[in-house]
C-alpha cells in the first residue's frame, strides 16, 4: 500500500489538479518505480470508472429530457402544415364553387361582349368571333394574376360565345333575327310614307343589363332597350296596301323595325338604295 502522501500525489495527478511542472517530474517517478506504476494503474482504473459512471448518469438524465424525434413534426410545423392544408382546401373549394358562378356569369360576359360589337355596323356575325376572343383576352389580362387553369377554362368557353347551344342568351340567333335580310325589298316605290302622327307608341327601357341596343315591336307598342335619348329618335312608317313597314331613325342611322314578340338587336340599314329612299322620305316629310 502506498504512503498517504503518495496517494495524494497520485490523486492530484489523475484528477488533473497537479501543476504542469510537478506533473512532468511525477511522470518520471512513475516510470522509474514499478510499485508506484502499479498503484497509479489501479487508481487510474478506479478514477476512469467514476468518470464513466458520471457520464452514464448525465446521459441517463439527457435521455429523460423530452424531445420530439427528428422524423416527426414539431407543434409549430404541425400548425403550419394545418394552415397550408386548410388554405389548399379553401382554394380548391373556392374554385369549384366559383366555377358554378362562373358559368352563370359567363352568360353575362357573353352578353356584354357580344352585344357591344353589334352597335357599330355589324354585317356578318362571323366577324364577331375575333372580337369576342379579343374581349375575352382583355378580361383575362385585366385580371392579372389569373392562373393558367383559369385561362384554359375561359378559352374552352369561347366557342360557347360564338355558337351558343346552352340555355343562355344566343347572340348569333338574335343577330340573325335583327338582320334586315334583303334590305332592298323592304320598301317599294309604291310604298307611301305616313304623313300623320305615328300609330306606334314608343317606350324606353334602359334598365335591362342584357339588352343595350335592342327593340321589340308588338302590335303598336315599340319598346327600345338601351340608353336612348328620348328626343333624338324618329319613327318612319310606310304603308303599302295593308302592310306596315317601320324604321327607326336614331343618331344619323336608320334601323328596320319589324313586328315580333321577341327582343331583337337594332341593326342599321346598309343598303344604299334603301338608305337613299329613307333619307328622301325623311327630308320630304
Amino acid at each position: 500500500m502506498a504512503a498517504e502522501k503518495e496517494i495524494e500525489l497520485i490523486d492530484a495527478y489523475l484528477a488533473n489538479r497537479m501543476p504542469v511542472a510537478e506533473r512532468a517530474a511525477f511522470e518520471q517517478k512513475i516510470a522509474s518505480e514499478p510499485a508506484l506504476q502499479k498503484e497509479v494503474a489501479l487508481q487510474q482504473t478506479i478514477v476512469e470508472s467514476v468518470r464513466k459512471a458520471r457520464a452514464a448518469e448525465l446521459k441517463a438524465m439527457l435521455n429523460n429530457v423530452p424531445v420530439s424525434p427528428v422524423g416527426t413534426t414539431t407543434l409549430v410545423s404541425k400548425v403550419a402544415i394545418g394552415i397550408a392544408v386548410t388554405a389548399l382546401v379553401g382554394t380548391t373549394l373556392y374554385f369549384i364553387l366559383s366555377e358554378d358562378n362562373q358559368s352563370e356569369s359567363t352568360s353575362e360576359i357573353q352578353t356584354t361582349t357580344t352585344e357591344v360589337p353589334i352597335t357599330p355596323p355589324a354585317e356578318k356575325p362571323a366577324e364577331q368571333e375575333p372580337v369576342i376572343a379579343a374581349e375575352e383576352e382583355k378580361k383575362e389580362t385585366s385580371t392579372g394574376s389569373t392562373s393558367t387553369k383559369k385561362k384554359a377554362r375561359k378559352k374552352t368557353q369561347t366557342p360557347t360565345a360564338v355558337n351558343p347551344t346552352i340555355n343562355v342568351f344566343d347572340p348569333t340567333a338574335e343577330l340573325e333575327e335583327g338582320m334586315n335580310g334583303d334590305e332592298g325589298d323592304l320598301l317599294s316605290d309604291d310604298d307611301e310614307m305616313s304623313t300623320g302622327k305615328s300609330t306606334i307608341l314608343v317606350d324606353i327601357d334602359s334598365t335591362s343589363r342584357r339588352h343595350t341596343f335592342h327593340y321589340k315591336l308588338e302590335q303598336d307598342q315599340l319598346t327600345l332597350y338601351g340608353p336612348f335619348e328620348r328626343n333624338l329618335f324618329e319613327l318612319l312608317e310606310f304603308f303599302s296596301e295593308e302592310k306596315r313597314t317601320a324604321f327607326l331613325y336614331y343618331k344619323k342611322s336608320y334601323y328596320y323595325i319589324k313586328d315580333s314578340d321577341k327582343v331583337t338587336a337594332l341593326v342599321p340599314v346598309q343598303d344604299p338604295a334603301l338608305l337613299n329612299k329613307l333619307r328622301k322620305h325623311r327630308a320630304g316629310n
Partner: protein
C-alpha cells in the same frame, strides 16, 4: 431555470454550465437537438446513433466547461456541432475498421478489463449518494472544492475535502477487497 419558453443568453447558459447547473444542460440539449442529430442522420447515421453522438458531445462540452478548461471564442452551437462532427467521424472510422477486421481476423474480447470495470462499477454503486456525487464532481466535473461544497451543502471547502478523502478511501477499500478475491492484484 424559469419556464420552458425562457430564452437564455449564450453567456448565461455558459456560466450556469460552468457552475455545474444540470438544468442548463437540459436546456441546451433541447435547444439544439434537431440541429445536431440532423447532421449525423444526413451523414448515414440512424436517429439512435445521432442521439448518442449528440449526448456524448454535450457531455464533452459539459466536462470542459465545469473543469474550467474552455474559453468560448465561438457560439456554443458551433462548438458542440464541431464536437459532434469529430465524434461521428471517429465512429464511422471505427465501424469501417471493425468491418475490415471482421473479414481479416476473429474479434478478441478483453474479458479482464471488462470484468474489472464491472467490479468497480458495482463498488461505486455501493457508495452512498453523497459519496458518489463528491467523487463524480471531483474526478469528472473537476469542480473546485468550493463548488462541491456549495452544490452538496457542505459547511466549507475543508468539509468537502475531508468528505472527498473519506469517500475515495472507502471506494479504494471496496475495490481492493474485490480485486484480491478475484486475484487481479498480484
Amino acid at each position: 431555470m424559469g419556464s420552458k419558453s425562457t430564452e437564455l443568453s449564450e453567456t448565461e447558459v455558459f456560466d450556469r454550465i460552468k457552475g455545474g447547473d444540470e438544468k442548463a444542460l437540459e436546456y441546451l440539449y433541447k435547444k439544439y437537438y434537431r440541429m445536431m442529430t440532423k447532421m449525423v442522420i444526413s451523414n448515414s447515421g440512424t436517429e439512435e446513433e445521432a442521439r448518442d453522438i449528440y449526448q456524448e458531445a454535450l457531455i464533452v462540452f459539459w466536462q470542459k466547461c465545469t473543469s474550467g478548461n474552455l474559453v468560448m471564442t465561438s457560439k456554443i452551437s458551433t462548438y458542440i456541432y464541431s464536437i459532434c462532427q469529430n465524434l461521428w467521424r471517429k465512429e464511422l472510422d471505427r465501424k469501417k475498421r471493425l468491418s475490415n477486421e471482421e473479414k481479416d481476423m476473429p474479434f478478441v474480447l478483453d474479458t479482464d478489463t471488462a470484468e474489472r470495470e464491472k467490479i468497480i462499477a458495482r463498488c461505486i454503486d455501493q457508495l452512498g449518494d453523497t459519496c458518489k456525487k463528491v467523487l463524480m464532481y471531483y474526478y469528472f466535473d473537476e469542480l473546485s472544492m468550493q463548488d462541491i461544497a456549495d452544490k452538496l451543502g457542505f459547511a466549507n471547502t475543508d468539509t468537502a475535502k475531508t468528505k472527498k478523502y473519506k469517500c475515495k478511501q472507502k471506494l479504494d477499500e471496496l475495490v481492493k477487497a474485490q480485486y484480491s478475491e478475484r486475484d487481479f492484484l498480484d
